[in-house]
Protein backbone atom coordinates (compact mmCIF):
# COMPACT_ATOMS: atom_id res chain seq x y z
CA UNK A 1 0.00 0.00 0.00
CA UNK A 2 2.35 2.66 -1.23
CA UNK A 3 -0.14 5.45 -1.19
CA UNK A 4 -1.37 5.00 2.29
CA UNK A 5 -0.23 6.77 5.36
CA UNK A 6 0.01 4.87 8.61
CA UNK A 7 -3.35 3.53 9.69
CA UNK A 8 -4.00 3.88 13.40
CA UNK A 9 -5.76 0.84 14.78
CA UNK A 10 -7.24 0.76 18.25
CA UNK A 11 -7.68 -2.70 19.77
CA UNK A 12 -10.04 -2.52 22.70
CA UNK A 13 -10.27 -5.80 24.51
CA UNK A 14 -10.12 -6.93 28.13
CA UNK A 15 -8.20 -10.08 27.30
CA UNK A 16 -4.50 -9.83 26.44
CA UNK A 17 -4.78 -13.12 24.53
CA UNK A 18 -7.43 -11.65 22.35
CA UNK A 19 -5.52 -8.38 21.77
CA UNK A 20 -2.26 -10.11 20.84
CA UNK A 21 -4.15 -12.58 18.66
CA UNK A 22 -5.86 -9.80 16.75
CA UNK A 23 -2.62 -7.93 16.25
CA UNK A 24 -0.83 -10.97 14.91
CA UNK A 25 -3.71 -11.65 12.49
CA UNK A 26 -3.69 -8.04 11.31
CA UNK A 27 0.06 -8.21 10.77
CA UNK A 28 -0.51 -10.93 8.20
CA UNK A 29 -2.28 -8.41 6.04
CA UNK A 30 -0.05 -6.09 4.15
CA UNK A 31 -1.10 -2.72 5.50
CA UNK A 32 0.86 -0.04 7.34
CA UNK A 33 -0.98 -0.49 10.62
CA UNK A 34 0.14 1.01 13.87
CA UNK A 35 -1.55 -0.48 16.90
CA UNK A 36 -2.83 0.95 20.11
CA UNK A 37 -4.12 -1.45 22.73
CA UNK A 38 -6.73 -0.49 25.26
CA UNK A 39 -7.54 -2.82 28.16
CA UNK A 40 -9.53 -0.47 30.41
CA UNK A 41 -12.99 0.49 29.09
CA UNK A 42 -12.92 3.86 30.88
CA UNK A 43 -9.86 4.89 28.93
CA UNK A 44 -11.25 4.17 25.48
CA UNK A 45 -12.96 7.52 25.03
CA UNK A 46 -9.78 9.50 25.72
CA UNK A 47 -7.62 7.38 23.51
CA UNK A 48 -10.05 7.56 20.62
CA UNK A 49 -10.13 11.28 21.08
CA UNK A 50 -6.35 11.55 20.92
CA UNK A 51 -5.36 8.94 18.41
CA UNK A 52 -7.47 9.62 15.33
CA UNK A 53 -7.90 5.96 14.64
CA UNK A 54 -9.11 4.74 11.25
CA UNK A 55 -9.96 1.31 12.54
CA UNK A 56 -11.42 0.42 15.91
CA UNK A 57 -11.71 -3.21 16.91
CA UNK A 58 -13.52 -3.90 20.13
CA UNK A 59 -14.91 -6.93 21.87
CA UNK A 60 -18.51 -7.13 23.06
CA UNK A 61 -17.41 -7.79 26.63
CA UNK A 62 -15.34 -4.63 26.54
CA UNK A 63 -18.31 -2.53 25.47
CA UNK A 64 -20.87 -4.30 27.61
CA UNK A 65 -20.93 -1.71 30.36
CA UNK A 66 -21.70 1.17 27.98
CA UNK A 67 -25.15 2.04 26.70
CA UNK A 68 -25.83 2.07 22.94
CA UNK A 69 -25.85 5.82 23.03
CA UNK A 70 -22.53 6.00 24.85
CA UNK A 71 -20.97 3.65 22.33
CA UNK A 72 -22.32 5.62 19.45
CA UNK A 73 -20.90 8.90 20.72
CA UNK A 74 -17.63 7.38 21.88
CA UNK A 75 -16.65 5.54 18.71
CA UNK A 76 -15.50 7.70 15.82
CA UNK A 77 -17.93 8.13 12.93
CA UNK A 78 -17.76 8.94 9.24
CA UNK A 79 -17.04 6.81 6.28
CA UNK A 80 -13.26 7.00 6.66
CA UNK A 81 -13.42 5.01 9.88
CA UNK A 82 -14.21 1.32 10.20
CA UNK A 83 -15.47 -0.37 13.35
CA UNK A 84 -15.28 -4.07 14.02
CA UNK A 85 -16.89 -6.01 16.81
CA UNK A 86 -15.54 -9.22 18.23
CA UNK A 87 -18.56 -11.07 19.48
CA UNK A 88 -17.18 -12.81 22.55
CA UNK A 89 -20.58 -12.90 24.29
CA UNK A 90 -22.52 -15.17 21.92
CA UNK A 91 -25.18 -15.94 24.52
CA UNK A 92 -25.88 -12.35 25.47
CA UNK A 93 -29.19 -10.75 24.48
CA UNK A 94 -27.44 -7.49 23.76
CA UNK A 95 -27.28 -6.50 20.09
CA UNK A 96 -24.56 -4.05 19.17
CA UNK A 97 -25.21 -1.91 16.11
CA UNK A 98 -23.14 0.43 13.95
CA UNK A 99 -20.30 -1.97 13.24
CA UNK A 100 -18.99 -2.62 9.74
CA UNK A 101 -18.29 -6.24 10.47
CA UNK A 102 -18.81 -8.70 13.30
CA UNK A 103 -16.16 -11.30 14.04
CA UNK A 104 -17.50 -14.32 15.90
CA UNK A 105 -15.31 -15.69 18.63
CA UNK A 106 -15.64 -19.09 17.01
CA UNK A 107 -14.64 -17.94 13.50
CA UNK A 108 -11.77 -19.81 11.87
CA UNK A 109 -8.53 -18.03 11.07
CA UNK A 110 -9.46 -17.93 7.41
CA UNK A 111 -12.82 -16.36 8.07
CA UNK A 112 -11.36 -13.76 10.36
CA UNK A 113 -8.66 -12.87 7.84
CA UNK A 114 -11.27 -12.58 5.11
CA UNK A 115 -13.35 -10.19 7.21
CA UNK A 116 -10.33 -8.13 8.22
CA UNK A 117 -9.07 -7.96 4.69
CA UNK A 118 -12.41 -6.80 3.37
CA UNK A 119 -12.54 -3.99 5.92
CA UNK A 120 -8.93 -2.97 5.41
CA UNK A 121 -9.32 -2.92 1.64
CA UNK A 122 -12.34 -0.66 1.73
CA UNK A 123 -10.57 1.63 4.22
CA UNK A 124 -7.56 1.77 1.95
CA UNK A 125 -9.74 2.66 -1.01
CA UNK A 126 -11.47 5.42 0.89
CA UNK A 127 -8.36 6.85 2.49
CA UNK A 128 -5.90 6.52 -0.34
CA UNK A 129 -7.63 8.88 -2.71
CA UNK A 130 -7.05 11.57 -0.17
CA UNK A 131 -3.33 11.24 -0.47
CA UNK A 132 -3.08 10.12 -4.08
CA UNK A 133 -2.20 13.06 -6.32
CA UNK A 134 -4.79 13.76 -8.94
CA UNK A 135 -4.50 15.68 -12.15
CA UNK A 136 -6.28 18.98 -12.10
CA UNK A 137 -8.93 19.43 -14.77
CA UNK A 138 -8.79 21.99 -17.58
CA UNK A 139 -11.40 24.12 -15.88
CA UNK A 140 -9.43 24.02 -12.65
CA UNK A 141 -6.37 25.11 -14.62
CA UNK A 142 -8.31 28.15 -15.86
CA UNK A 143 -9.22 29.04 -12.30
CA UNK A 144 -5.69 28.38 -11.06
CA UNK A 145 -4.24 30.66 -13.75
CA UNK A 146 -6.46 33.50 -12.68
CA UNK A 147 -5.78 32.93 -8.97
CA UNK A 148 -2.05 32.94 -9.65
CA UNK A 149 -2.39 36.23 -11.51
CA UNK A 150 -3.95 37.79 -8.44
CA UNK A 151 -7.65 37.84 -9.29
CA UNK A 152 -10.29 37.74 -6.57
CA UNK A 153 -12.99 35.07 -6.56
CA UNK A 154 -15.46 37.62 -7.84
CA UNK A 155 -13.22 38.67 -10.72
CA UNK A 156 -12.62 35.05 -11.66
CA UNK A 157 -16.35 34.37 -11.61
CA UNK A 158 -16.89 37.32 -13.99
CA UNK A 159 -14.13 36.26 -16.38
CA UNK A 160 -15.17 32.62 -16.59
CA UNK A 161 -18.93 33.25 -16.50
CA UNK A 162 -19.50 31.10 -13.45
CA UNK A 163 -20.78 31.86 -9.96
CA UNK A 164 -18.43 32.82 -7.10
CA UNK A 165 -19.67 29.73 -5.35
CA UNK A 166 -18.37 27.56 -8.19
CA UNK A 167 -15.03 29.39 -8.09
CA UNK A 168 -14.72 28.56 -4.40
CA UNK A 169 -15.49 24.89 -5.09
CA UNK A 170 -12.85 24.80 -7.81
CA UNK A 171 -10.31 26.41 -5.49
CA UNK A 172 -11.01 23.89 -2.75
CA UNK A 173 -10.50 21.04 -5.21
CA UNK A 174 -7.29 22.55 -6.55
CA UNK A 175 -5.87 22.86 -3.04
CA UNK A 176 -6.89 19.31 -2.18
CA UNK A 177 -5.36 17.88 -5.35
CA UNK A 178 -2.10 19.81 -5.31
CA UNK A 179 -1.54 20.07 -1.57
CA UNK A 180 -0.96 23.83 -1.88
CA UNK A 181 -3.00 26.26 0.19
CA UNK A 182 -1.63 29.75 -0.26
CA UNK A 183 -1.92 32.02 -3.28
CA UNK A 184 1.85 32.50 -3.33
CA UNK A 185 2.27 28.73 -3.43
CA UNK A 186 -0.27 28.32 -6.22
CA UNK A 187 1.52 31.01 -8.20
CA UNK A 188 4.77 29.07 -8.01
CA UNK A 189 2.99 25.91 -9.10
CA UNK A 190 1.47 27.76 -12.05
CA UNK A 191 4.85 29.17 -13.03
CA UNK A 192 6.62 25.83 -12.72
CA UNK A 193 3.98 24.17 -14.84
CA UNK A 194 3.98 26.98 -17.38
CA UNK A 195 0.33 27.89 -16.82
CA UNK A 196 1.52 31.48 -16.54
CA UNK A 197 4.77 33.25 -17.37
CA UNK A 198 6.74 35.51 -15.09
CA UNK A 199 6.12 38.40 -17.52
CA UNK A 200 2.38 38.04 -16.96
CA UNK A 201 2.78 38.56 -13.24
CA UNK A 202 4.70 41.78 -13.65
Amino acid sequence: MRNMENVNVIIADLSPLSRFGMISLLRQLNYPFSFREVSVPEKLKNIIHKDQASLVISSASFLEKFSDYQIQTMLPGGKYVAKLLINDLPHSQRKFTGFNEIIEFTDTERTILRKLNKTAASLARLNSFQVMPEEISDREKDVLRLVALGNTNKEIAGKLFISSHTVITHRKNITAKLGIKTIAGLTIYALLNKLITSEEIN
Binding site: L178, G179, K181, T182, L191, N193
Partner: protein
Protein backbone atom coordinates in the same frame (compact mmCIF):
# COMPACT_ATOMS: atom_id res chain seq x y z
CA UNK B 1 18.83 9.80 23.58
CA UNK B 2 16.63 12.49 22.16
CA UNK B 3 19.12 14.77 20.43
CA UNK B 4 16.43 17.30 19.51
CA UNK B 5 16.27 18.30 23.16
CA UNK B 6 19.77 19.75 22.95
CA UNK B 7 18.29 22.59 20.90
CA UNK B 8 15.72 23.29 23.57
CA UNK B 9 18.37 23.29 26.28
CA UNK B 10 20.27 25.98 24.43
CA UNK B 11 17.18 28.20 24.55
CA UNK B 12 17.62 28.35 28.29
CA UNK B 13 21.12 29.67 27.70
CA UNK B 14 22.78 26.41 28.64
CA UNK B 15 25.83 25.70 26.53
CA UNK B 16 27.22 22.35 25.56
CA UNK B 17 30.11 20.93 27.53
CA UNK B 18 28.19 20.49 30.76
CA UNK B 19 30.10 17.29 31.53
CA UNK B 20 28.43 14.90 33.90
CA UNK B 21 26.86 17.50 36.10
CA UNK B 22 23.27 16.90 37.08
CA UNK B 23 20.37 18.95 35.73
CA UNK B 24 20.00 20.49 39.15
CA UNK B 25 23.61 21.63 39.24
CA UNK B 26 23.56 23.03 35.73
CA UNK B 27 20.30 24.87 36.32
CA UNK B 28 21.71 26.41 39.48
CA UNK B 29 24.78 27.62 37.60
CA UNK B 30 22.68 29.27 34.93
CA UNK B 31 20.12 30.52 37.40
CA UNK B 32 17.26 28.56 35.84
CA UNK B 33 14.13 27.36 37.61
CA UNK B 34 14.71 23.58 37.66
CA UNK B 35 11.05 22.64 37.75
CA UNK B 36 10.15 24.87 34.86
CA UNK B 37 13.10 23.54 32.89
CA UNK B 38 12.00 19.95 33.49
CA UNK B 39 8.40 20.59 32.56
CA UNK B 40 9.36 22.23 29.28
CA UNK B 41 11.88 19.54 28.40
CA UNK B 42 9.44 16.77 29.22
CA UNK B 43 6.65 18.30 27.22
CA UNK B 44 8.95 18.43 24.18
CA UNK B 45 10.25 14.95 24.79
CA UNK B 46 6.91 13.21 25.07
CA UNK B 47 3.89 14.57 23.26
CA UNK B 48 1.62 12.70 25.62
CA UNK B 49 3.20 14.32 28.63
CA UNK B 50 1.71 17.73 28.68
CA UNK B 51 1.52 19.02 32.23
CA UNK B 52 -0.92 21.78 31.45
CA UNK B 53 -1.75 22.31 35.11
CA UNK B 54 1.89 22.34 36.27
CA UNK B 55 2.97 24.66 33.51
CA UNK B 56 0.12 27.05 34.21
CA UNK B 57 1.40 27.34 37.77
CA UNK B 58 4.62 29.08 36.72
CA UNK B 59 4.82 32.87 36.59
CA UNK B 60 4.12 34.39 33.19
CA UNK B 61 7.55 35.93 33.18
CA UNK B 62 9.18 32.50 32.93
CA UNK B 63 6.83 31.31 30.24
CA UNK B 64 7.19 34.42 28.14
CA UNK B 65 10.94 34.52 28.56
CA UNK B 66 11.01 31.03 27.18
CA UNK B 67 8.69 31.90 24.27
CA UNK B 68 10.90 34.91 23.46
CA UNK B 69 13.97 32.74 23.44
CA UNK B 70 12.37 30.38 20.97
CA UNK B 71 11.38 33.34 18.78
CA UNK B 72 15.03 34.38 18.75
CA UNK B 73 16.04 30.88 17.87
CA UNK B 74 13.68 30.82 14.87
CA UNK B 75 14.64 34.23 13.54
CA UNK B 76 18.34 34.29 14.36
CA UNK B 77 19.35 30.70 13.79
CA UNK B 78 16.85 28.42 12.10
CA UNK B 79 15.52 30.72 9.40
CA UNK B 80 18.93 32.01 8.25
CA UNK B 81 20.09 28.38 8.05
CA UNK B 82 17.22 27.39 5.77
CA UNK B 83 17.57 30.61 3.83
CA UNK B 84 21.17 29.75 3.05
CA UNK B 85 20.29 26.23 1.94
CA UNK B 86 17.61 27.54 -0.40
CA UNK B 87 20.02 30.07 -1.85
CA UNK B 88 22.53 27.29 -2.50
CA UNK B 89 19.83 25.41 -4.34
CA UNK B 90 19.49 28.10 -6.99
CA UNK B 91 23.23 28.75 -7.18
CA UNK B 92 24.10 25.19 -8.06
CA UNK B 93 21.61 24.64 -10.82
CA UNK B 94 21.57 25.54 -14.49
CA UNK B 95 20.01 28.65 -15.93
CA UNK B 96 16.54 27.30 -16.67
CA UNK B 97 15.77 25.57 -13.39
CA UNK B 98 17.68 28.37 -11.69
CA UNK B 99 14.87 30.74 -12.48
CA UNK B 100 12.22 28.58 -10.87
CA UNK B 101 14.43 27.96 -7.90
CA UNK B 102 14.76 31.67 -7.38
CA UNK B 103 10.97 31.76 -7.12
CA UNK B 104 11.26 29.33 -4.21
CA UNK B 105 13.70 31.75 -2.67
CA UNK B 106 11.21 34.61 -3.08
CA UNK B 107 8.43 32.46 -1.69
CA UNK B 108 10.47 31.63 1.38
CA UNK B 109 11.14 35.31 1.93
CA UNK B 110 7.40 35.89 1.87
CA UNK B 111 7.15 33.31 4.62
CA UNK B 112 9.92 34.93 6.66
CA UNK B 113 8.11 38.25 6.47
CA UNK B 114 4.92 36.64 7.77
CA UNK B 115 6.76 34.95 10.60
CA UNK B 116 8.53 38.18 11.55
CA UNK B 117 5.27 40.14 11.60
CA UNK B 118 3.64 37.46 13.67
CA UNK B 119 6.44 37.40 16.23
CA UNK B 120 6.65 41.17 16.33
CA UNK B 121 2.97 41.45 17.10
CA UNK B 122 3.26 38.96 19.92
CA UNK B 123 6.26 40.63 21.49
CA UNK B 124 5.13 44.20 21.09
CA UNK B 125 1.42 43.92 21.62
CA UNK B 126 0.44 40.68 23.27
CA UNK B 127 3.18 40.19 25.87
CA UNK B 128 3.04 43.72 27.33
CA UNK B 129 -0.72 43.34 27.61
CA UNK B 130 -0.32 39.98 29.34
CA UNK B 131 2.10 41.48 31.86
CA UNK B 132 -0.26 44.29 32.72
CA UNK B 133 -3.02 41.77 33.34
CA UNK B 134 -0.76 39.76 35.61
CA UNK B 135 0.33 42.83 37.53
CA UNK B 136 -3.24 43.91 38.15
CA UNK B 137 -4.13 40.40 39.23
CA UNK B 138 -1.29 40.13 41.73
CA UNK B 139 -1.50 43.60 43.20
CA UNK B 140 -5.29 43.24 43.27
CA UNK B 141 -5.34 46.72 41.86
CA UNK B 142 -7.09 47.29 38.58
CA UNK B 143 -6.24 50.49 36.72
CA UNK B 144 -9.06 52.00 34.65
CA UNK B 145 -6.87 51.99 31.55
CA UNK B 146 -6.61 48.23 31.77
CA UNK B 147 -10.36 47.78 32.04
CA UNK B 148 -10.75 49.94 28.99
CA UNK B 149 -8.15 47.93 27.13
CA UNK B 150 -9.75 44.67 28.15
CA UNK B 151 -12.95 45.86 26.53
CA UNK B 152 -11.15 46.34 23.23
CA UNK B 153 -8.71 43.50 23.28
CA UNK B 154 -8.63 40.28 25.24
CA UNK B 155 -6.48 37.18 25.05
CA UNK B 156 -9.23 35.43 23.12
CA UNK B 157 -8.73 37.95 20.32
CA UNK B 158 -5.10 37.00 20.32
CA UNK B 159 -5.99 33.37 20.02
CA UNK B 160 -8.42 33.92 17.17
CA UNK B 161 -5.90 36.13 15.36
CA UNK B 162 -3.35 33.41 15.81
CA UNK B 163 -3.26 33.09 12.10
CA UNK B 164 -2.17 30.33 9.85
CA UNK B 165 1.48 31.07 9.45
CA UNK B 166 2.03 27.39 8.90
CA UNK B 167 0.23 27.38 5.53
CA UNK B 168 3.18 28.72 3.57
CA UNK B 169 5.49 26.23 5.25
CA UNK B 170 3.10 23.43 4.29
CA UNK B 171 3.09 24.63 0.67
CA UNK B 172 6.84 24.96 0.50
CA UNK B 173 7.34 21.37 1.61
CA UNK B 174 4.88 20.07 -0.96
CA UNK B 175 6.37 22.14 -3.75
CA UNK B 176 9.84 20.82 -3.00
CA UNK B 177 8.64 17.25 -2.62
CA UNK B 178 6.33 17.13 -5.61
CA UNK B 179 6.86 19.91 -8.09
CA UNK B 180 10.48 21.02 -8.31
CA UNK B 181 11.75 20.91 -11.87
CA UNK B 182 14.85 18.81 -12.44
CA UNK B 183 17.77 18.95 -12.30
CA UNK B 184 18.22 19.87 -8.67
CA UNK B 185 20.72 18.75 -6.10
CA UNK B 186 18.80 15.97 -4.31
CA UNK B 187 20.95 16.09 -1.18
CA UNK B 188 20.32 19.76 -0.81
CA UNK B 189 16.59 19.22 -1.24
CA UNK B 190 16.58 16.59 1.49
CA UNK B 191 18.55 18.85 3.78
CA UNK B 192 16.03 21.64 3.24
CA UNK B 193 13.07 19.32 3.78
CA UNK B 194 14.52 17.99 7.02
CA UNK B 195 14.97 21.51 8.29
CA UNK B 196 11.46 22.51 7.23
CA UNK B 197 9.90 19.52 8.98
CA UNK B 198 11.88 20.28 12.12
CA UNK B 199 10.92 23.93 12.07
CA UNK B 200 7.29 22.97 11.63
CA UNK B 201 7.37 20.54 14.55
CA UNK B 202 9.11 23.11 16.70
CA UNK B 203 6.57 25.80 15.82
CA UNK B 204 3.77 23.40 16.69
CA UNK B 205 5.25 22.73 20.12
CA UNK B 206 5.67 26.44 20.59
CA UNK B 207 2.05 27.11 19.65
CA UNK B 208 0.95 24.36 22.01
CA UNK B 209 2.56 26.17 24.93
CA UNK B 210 0.90 29.43 23.87
CA UNK B 211 -2.54 27.90 23.40
CA UNK B 212 -2.58 25.50 26.32
CA UNK B 213 -0.57 27.40 28.91
CA UNK B 214 -0.38 31.11 28.20
CA UNK B 215 -3.90 31.70 26.90
CA UNK B 216 -5.83 29.83 29.65
CA UNK B 217 -3.72 31.43 32.35
CA UNK B 218 -4.40 34.93 31.08
CA UNK B 219 -8.05 34.15 30.43
CA UNK B 220 -8.39 33.13 34.07
CA UNK B 221 -6.94 36.44 35.27
CA UNK B 222 -9.02 38.45 32.83
CA UNK B 223 -12.10 36.80 34.22
CA UNK B 224 -11.11 37.81 37.73
CA UNK B 225 -10.53 41.40 36.60
CA UNK B 226 -13.87 41.57 34.84
CA UNK B 227 -15.63 40.31 37.93
CA UNK B 228 -13.90 42.66 40.37
CA UNK B 229 -13.46 45.99 38.70
CA UNK B 230 -17.14 46.84 38.93
CA UNK B 231 -17.18 46.64 42.71
Amino acid sequence: MNYQLLQIISRFGIQLGFGDRSIKQVCREYNIDVNFFLEIINSYHDKNYFPRKNLQGFPLKLIIEYLRESHNYYLEIKIPQIEQLIRQLSEFSDRISGESLRMIDTFFHGYIKELQDHIEREEEKVYPYVFSVEEAFHLKKIPDSLVERLGEYSIDDFESEHDNIEDKLFDLKNIIIKYLPLPVDPNLCHAILTELFRLEADLNDHARIEDKVLVPKVRFMEKWINEHHAQ
